[in-house]
């Protein structure tokens, strides 16, 4: 059986820009276009464009959609106002995390669930099991319907402090005034889109959901807007490598690294996404309530490398006595901080200082709070 790798609607753009492509979750994606450090720095100081069409988009619709999602996820989506979004998690009955999600309320009876590319089919299956029907007759207007819209949804993201100004020149939406974690329907480069002020970089930015055929025109319009500004610094493309170092600096977890089925939101320091205060049952409630009461036995910490050697996923974290007390979940050189940064799970009662076993040699690491980088400071 041959596995098919899918191309995104922006395949020709990546080719034209000379991207180094990589396979990720069954998609051919741009890893970098030139220097991933330069792409990272562009997001921090200017703006850059990302192709995120590999992400999964699942619509949950119907008058009972909110209540259905309240049962399906840890959060409380029915409380969202129209035009607002919330970060949340889909958990298993034992409290383990199946995916982290952003849920946008696009209308009173329409929610857009955005899932990680690698987990889209799992999320779709779970939402169908947990949400479908809502006790209403099939085909009735009261029914909750779960629809996979990934194949008909493209996603272009502009991230960085100059992104808002650029986007404003090609859209009718009042984006400058849009609150963080809000979204609206509008036109970008004359194409219908759902525009949200969300992102995975720790900078201001917008995610533009559109028809696949409109991705390239929207991308080109934003690039042209930047090019026509004589005082501007252009609008480079940024790939998955920069996306990873940006989210790591911003202390954001990555499913498969910090998040997984053997971890609850509490270990990841994200207990705030679990709304034990919402009425009614939800999948994982009793296990999560128990973990909340007992406290997690591992905790996610930030580490700063003291040498150039980078702590990486899977490397042991050692106590001063040399005992293994944890494991690195993500690590990379930080362009903004100028030293390696890492996140790691350590035993909750383990005290520093810590060392990291980097391929046989212990490198000292300094514990630091998360995020490593905060744009407001």
């Amino acid at each position: 059986m041959t596995s098919t790798v899918r191309d995104t609607p922006l395949r020709m753009v990546h080719e034209r820009l000379g991207a180094t492509m990589t396979e990720f979750a069954g998609w051919r994606m741009p890893l970098r276009y030139g220097s991933e450090t330069a792409e990272h720095n562009a997001v921090r100081t200017n703006a850059a464009l990302f192709d995120l069409s590999h992400m999964g988009e699942i619509a949950v619709t119907g008058p009972g959609a909110g209540a259905a999602l309240d049962y399906a996820v840890c959060g409380w989506p029915s409380q969202l106002s129209v035009g607002r979004a919330r970060y949340t998690m889909l958990c298993a009955p034992d409290g383990g995390i199946l995916d982290d999600l952003i849920i946008y309320r696009q209308a009173a009876d329409r929610f857009l669930v955005v899932a990680n590319a690698a987990n889209t089919s799992v999320v779709l299956g779970e939402l169908r099991d947990r949400c479908s029907g809502g006790g209403a007759a099939e085909g009735s207007s009261l029914e909750t319907v779960v629809t996979d819209e990934s194949a008909v949804t493209g996603l272009v993201s502009i991230q960085g402090p100059n992104g808002c100004g650029l986007l404003a020149t090609v859209t009718d939406l009042p984006v400058a005034a849009m609150p963080y974690y809000a979204g609206a329907y509008g036109a970008v480069a004359g194409r219908a889109a759902w525009v949200a002020r969300t992102g995975y970089t720790g900078e201001d930015g917008f995610e533009i959901f559109c028809a696949p055929a409109d991705c390239e025109p929207i991308w080109d319009a934003l690039t042209a807007a930047a090019a026509s500004d004589p005082d501007g610094r252009g609008l480079p493309a940024a790939g998955l490598a920069a996306r990873d170092t940006l989210r790591l600096e911003a202390g954001m977890p990555l499913y498969g690294n910090e998040l997984g089925p053997d971890v609850t939101p509490y270990e990841a320091g994200l207990g705030r996404v679990v709304r034990l205060d919402k009425p009614g049952d939800f999948v994982g409630r009793s296990a999560l309530a128990q973990r909340a009461a007992e406290g997690p036995r591992r905790t996610l910490i930030g580490l700063l490398g003291q040498s150039r050697r980078v702590p990486r996923h899977g490397y042991p974290v050692l106590s001063a006595a040399g005992d293994r007390v944890g494991v690195v979940t993500s690590g990379a050189p930080s362009p903004t901080l100028g030293k390696p940064i890492a996140m790691a799970y350590v035993e909750v009662d383990a005290g520093g200082p810590f060392g990291i076993d980097v391929r046989g040699k212990t490198e000292p690491a300094e514990v630091t709070g998360l995020p490593f980088y905060d744009r407001r400071k």
């Binding site: 890893l31 970098r32 490598a241 150039r308 050697r309 980078v310 050189p333 391929r359």
Partner: protein
């Protein structure tokens, strides 16, 4: 993809220039493109003995770590200390300022066997995809 005509190459994407019994070694343009931005390089010590085909250091980029091999037997006589502060020189000038280490080739060794010509190396990079 730059493959200078005056150098020789290895399967591990390194280049070697030999002059008067001393070999200068670095990694190729192809290698730097595959690695991305180099953030750290661990070079052998001056005075260390190196063996052809054996790892003698590491090249670390944003996303990965690769072994550095010696293409020849001999003794390390010089390392590029500029790379401590500026490993990005490897990306900027893989064949120039990004050179990595120099080896005095062991007496009696026939250097050349196992090394690739520019044409052979170019073909290798194209078949690697």
């Amino acid at each position: 993809m730059s493959v200078p005509a005056e150098l020789r190459y290895t399967q591990e994407h390194e280049w070697i220039a030999i002059e008067g019994g001393t070999a200068t070694i670095g990694i190729t343009d192809y290698a730097t493109q595959a690695l991305g931005d180099v953030v750290y390089v661990s070079l052998p010590e001056v005075g260390a003995a190196v063996t052809a085909g054996e790892p003698c250091g590491e090249v670390e980029s944003t996303k990965s770590v690769s072994d550095l091999y010696s293409p020849v037997d001999g003794e390390v006589v010089e390392v590029n200390e500029e790379l401590d502060d500026d490993p990005g020189l490897i990306n900027a000038e893989p064949y120039g300022l990004g050179w990595m280490f120099r080896v005095r080739v062991a007496d009696g060794q026939t250097v050349g066997a196992g090394l690739l010509s520019p044409t052979e190396y170019d073909a290798l990079t194209k078949s690697a995809g």
